[in-house]
Symmetry: C2
Subunit: 723 residues, 2 copies
């Protein structure tokens, strides 16, 4: 079949997006039409049919019942990092991989992990009342009665014993304290009560610290993920009144990973800094509570009534305080060097010079059915499928690594330590990193990715059926995008890229999951994907197998779909002749960031900031990428040229790193993206320049513009090697 439409699809998919405008494709059309089947990005026409057959074989393997079995096994016990349960899950994953025919090993690190011994909260005035009430068990869900579920706590909060009047500070962002000051309310020496949302929780503690607060209490406002969003568990998928969001409050925007070994792997004998010098540890106590407890506090607050948009769904009128509600927080945290266990599975390629890496963490705050185990269950089915292909005599071209990280919840530790340990090898070999965290909480597909990988994600989504509709995941995703229902990936938390005409929307990579060390530190092209839905039990006791069976994916078909998608991505990345990395799209995207920055900085920075070197760099990169794309296209049939081109392509993203890293947080080396210092999850674009502009520090902004421009010219030079 070579209809006009099929032809158009075939030829367009050979051309990276953004290049079509540069190069007429007359010759390519002829080449594509010589093939019986539509082309695949990066594959020589002669190899397309075989690849399609391989993909079809792979897609037949993942099975909902198997995914369900994995999920039940992974979530049968609480498995927080540093516990026996955590190790048991790692062993299960390793053993499953081995049973599928993969090589698989545990890799351990010794990292500073706090486990909570006491987390207590008492209202001391205007009356005494014991708070920090636990999450209630429900009969229909026996996991909720498990005595080993850890109490609600915030990871890396220091121990402490603080008694002070309470001040309510909305989401705890800098502008919230500014508003408080306008109302005549100071947080100094107070316990600030803030609600979850709008930013990473560590940011709330950092900003509280900057405002001289004595401690922080964080509650889940039912306006955000409770009754006002939808029916609370167990009736519906949202947070019940007793539900607590656990979570780390480490300052991951400074650096993730083990606090004591920044930039270095936390091996047994690694050199460690004293905890007092760790720049990513909060200095004031913080704890999370449910909204029942928040109501006990809020109903006893006076002072100004809050601005209307600060009022949430706790059924009392919110006041800022301070007091009269006065609280005592007592936290005893057992900080120790503990052993964590990554799992690294491997399917060796015909050459081990190139790696394709996929991963997800395996540790959970409690049971973690969505977060993270849905991704692990999907990945295990992908592993099983790859194993079946291998059993049939197939061997991947590039080595495939399937990793299960430990201690992500505490601070992306397992992945960060492994990346730090293998950084130079990864930078030589790793073609891409695919992250599968929280792969299923519903049916709405979403992805965040380096711009170079976006077309690949769209391609893969075309190949997999959406279980509910039977149409392609791509079609359903595109329709939702066009209706403005593009769902961000919670783990990436990034601002979506603007909608390309007719194309479904992808987000940019912020932070919040294990792609962070790969992308922001090592410059490995990365992506994150999954199916999302109504999910209000994040980091609660209720994110468990029963929740998934009742709400998230009752028949586990989306787990199977995620597994197929992951499999297609792996096979395209591992088998392609020319790496399917679209740097024309990337450069186009960067040009847009530069224009936006010019607009933002234009008003305040007029005459004080010259962004011309940056836009020239972006233009140089775009030009080089355009030429590279043409070369990539014709190289697919020429093995020698392809090898040379791939050697260049594999390091283009790394050229966008700056050796010295960002100001004040040198671990973050990417010049185009970083998690925002005051967002924590969401990405800041051109962060070195932009954060300096936000501070009004024009000298630094200009210097950072130089850094970015250099990086862009380096990337352009690397792309020129592709020609």
């Amino acid at each position: 079949m070579c209809t006009r439409a099929a032809l158009r699809t075939a030829c367009q998919s050979l051309l990276p997006a953004g290049v079509a405008a540069f190069f007429h494709a007359a010759v390519l059309v002829g080449a594509a039409c010589a093939q019986a089947t539509p082309a695949i990005r990066g594959f020589a026409p002669a190899r397309v049919a075989a690849q399609r057959e391989l993909e079809e074989t792979l897609k037949r393997v993942p099975h909902p019942a198997q995914a369900e079995k994995h999920l039940r096994a992974l979530t049968s016990e609480p498995h927080m990092a540093g516990t026996e349960g955590g190790r048991r899950v790692a062993v299960y994953i390793r053993d499953q991989m081995r049973s599928f025919g993969l090589e698989a090993e545990l890799v351990s690190y010794r990292v500073l992990l706090p486990h909570p011994v006491e987390v207590s909260l008492q209202l001391t005035a205007p009356e005494k009342k014991k708070l920090a009430t636990p999450e209630e068990p429900f009969q229909a869900d026996r996991d909720t009665s498990n005595p080993r579920a850890v109490m609600g706590f915030n990871g890396y909060s220091p121990s402490g014993d603080v008694t002070a009047p309470v001040v309510y500070a909305n989401y705890g962002l800098p502008e919230d304290y500014k508003r408080l000051a306008e109302l005549g309310v100071s947080a100094e020496g107070k316990i600030v009560l803030v609600r979850y949302g709008q930013c990473f929780r560590g940011v709330k503690v950092k900003v509280a610290e900057e405002n001289k607060a004595a401690a922080v209490i964080i509650f889940s406002d039912p306006a955000d993920d409770g009754y006002a969003a939808g029916d609370p568990y167990p009736r519906g998928p949202f947070r019940p009144p007793s539900g607590i969001q656990r979570g780390s409050v480490y300052y991951g925007f400074v650096y993730p990973g083990d606090p004591l070994t920044p930039g270095e792997a936390a091996t047994e004998n690694a050199k460690r800094i004293p905890a007092g010098q760790a720049q990513n540890l909060p200095r004031i106590p913080a704890m999370p509570i449910n909204w029942r407890d928040a109501q006990e506090i809020l109903s006893r607050m006076e002072g100004p009534r809050v601005p209307r948009e600060w009022q949430g769904g706790v059924p009392v009128t919110y006041h800022t305080g301070p007091g009269p509600a006065t609280a005592r927080i007592r936290l005893k945290m057992d900080f120790q060097l503990r052993t964590i266990w990554d799992v690294v599975g491997k399917l060796p390629g015909t050459s081990d010079d190139e790696w394709v890496v996929m991963g997800n963490h395996h540790d959970a705050w409690v049971f973690g059915a969505v977060d993270p185990s849905s991704g692990t269950a999907a990945m295990l089915e992908t592993a099983r499928a790859l194993g079946e292909l291998a059993r049939g005599g197939w061997k991947p071209r590039r080595t495939i690594l399937l990793c299960a990280w430990d201690a992500e919840e505490f601070g992306l530790i397992g992945s960060t330590e492994w990346v730090e340990q293998h950084r130079s090898e990864l930078q030589r070999k790793a073609v891409a990193y695919v992250n599968l965290d929280s792969a299923v909480s519903g049916s709405a597909f979403g992805s965040s990715a380096a711009p170079s990988l976006r077309e690949l994600v769209r391609d893969a989504a075309r190949e997999v059926s959406d279980p509910k509709t039977g149409r392609s995941v791509y079609d359903v995703w595109r329709e939702r995008s066009q209706r403005g229902e593009g769902r961000r990936r919670a783990t990436a938390g990034a601002d979506p890229a603007p909608l390309q005409a007719g194309e479904p929307q992808l987000g940019v990579l912020g932070s919040g999951s294990d792609f962070t060390p790969f992308f922001h530190h090592a410059g490995i092209p990365s992506l994150d994907l999954g199916f999302s839905g109504e999910y209000g039990v994040y980091h609660a006791l209720y994110d468990n197998f029963f929740w998934m069976k009742k709400f998230g994916d009752p028949d586990f078909t989306y787990h199977a779909a995620a597994s197929r998608l992951a499999g297609i991505l792996l096979l395209r990345l591992s088998e392609s002749d020319v790496l399917p990395l679209d740097y024309a799209a990337y450069a186009t995207e960067i040009e847009r960031y530069v224009r936006e920055l010019e607009l933002t900085a234009g008003a305040s920075g007029k005459g004080r900031l010259n962004l011309k070197p940056v836009s020239e760099g972006a233009a140089a990169m775009l030009a080089a990428a355009g030429h590279a794309a043409a070369a990539m296209n014709s190289a697919a049939v020429d093995r020698e040229a392809a090898l040379r081109i791939n050697r260049a392509l594999v390091t283009v993203e790394q050229e966008l790193l700056s050796p010295q890293g960002l100001v004040g947080r040198p671990w973050y080396k990417h010049t185009i993206y970083a998690p925002g210092t005051y967002t924590g999850y969401a990405a800041v674009l051109l962060p070195g320049i932009r954060e300096a502009v936000d501070r009004g520090d024009w000298e630094t902004a200009q210097r950072e513009a130089g850094v970015v421009a250099e990086a862009l010219h380096r990337a352009a030079a690397r792309l020129a090697q592709v020609r």
Copy 2:
């Protein structure tokens, strides 16, 4: 003093708004500047100084302590219409007026009033629970323990005993049922649970009836007037969880007043229609509940989750039903002909040919400190001030009537019966009607008025000090208007007129208080005014003296200010040489309504509706009003001319009535304004045409356009007599 600024003010205030563009004012400027004091609209220059002295004398009388004394007396007992308490309040008002030197009489009518005997609500499934819980007493407010407070009920609900599954229907508007139908939910045979707000409560019952519901439960959503708006009573001024909004559900948009004597006064021997024929009585049971009870029901509902904007502040996820919550409503209403007592106070003028009427109702659902007694307390202080002037030998030019209406809460009954009884005399004599309902619930001045009276309200507001700031009420009001904080008058509930440049905003007259029969039925120029604030206890047990002392007007200075404002208005209306009625502004306003209607009807009615006769009528009225304004201005010094002009002016508004009234509700005779059939309070502009357009009934719309055009030409002809 005759500075440029003072001059400008003086000359502008002589010219009705809207006329400045038509007539150059060179001569008038000269005339105004001959005066030592700024001019007053409608007064001959020679009389201005005396009028100012009179006003200053009047303003010195009203006293906060006296207003407080009145308010305590008026609210010492529950005084619902048809009860002993109701009569006692009427007697108090009469006696006070007499003690001030006014003539005052009780005027009684015999009207159909239901008093509740039983209002019970039981949840019958999925479990049994007794609801209809009463409002809780608070220690700090001894009135809340008064055993004579009437239970929560909806006036004119029929008796009934209904058991049915519950359906939640948001605000109970037609579009809400449409949305339900889209969700596959029908209200037929069900008990609909709706929340207060967005429209008059009788509309909710009417629409439920149209949708074949079996009964209606109306609850106060805390998102609207409870904790989400501000602190609940007794901590703050908003509705506590047990607070119930009582209120009539009669179909006042068909006709107000005694259901059995539409258009006729309900005197002892009046001809009465059978209750079964009364078109303003609902046919299905209705009852109000507090949000605690609503929570018991809403937490037991299933069916689709509601659209996001239907979710309110009751801390459960709202579902539409039907059921499983099933309720039994048992209502026993004692419908009887009962005696109600108006009070008519009188200060006879030198001529009894012209009347100035002021009024407020005296009946309350319970104590009614804001609604209505704050207005009565203010009016009594105005009466005392007028009495003092009279004691000094002064006699008003025009007769001043001060009225206290009974049974307003049930259906504007006392005022409607009195207007029906005295309609022809009123239409000959009444210069204007000033309504003082709920005059104080805070400090934000607001007013709704016939366009002819707007400038007079602004003038009066310039003469009275705002107690908090010491500046004029006008200045504070204008600043709030310009900040977009124009507060509508709750009793009028009307859409605000668009902001004239630099002028504070007034609303248009809808319905909901006693100006209705004067304005909509008899065509008397009317206005309504008061000071509003945070007031969440409307029609609850908590609208009482303690609420007022703590929140509404703790030192009663705004009561005194309202009294002064009312006094100024009366003195200007009673003493002016030429009536201060601005028909150029009115005609300008009507031209705007016609343009808006042309836009609305233009799309759907193209070629089917010709509005040219209407716009020609408006243009004719504007032209005549312009000429009249010039004549009015020069007539102030010519007593003979003024008398002739006033005789014409007093009936211009009546020319805007149509003898046959509106389609389906002939009691409403005004062609420019009516309470909307589906709003109940808020006004519809050019209602005859607009409601036909909304129904797509083009034939009626065209006929009504003819009716309006005729009315406008009649008004123009009447104004031509002013020349």
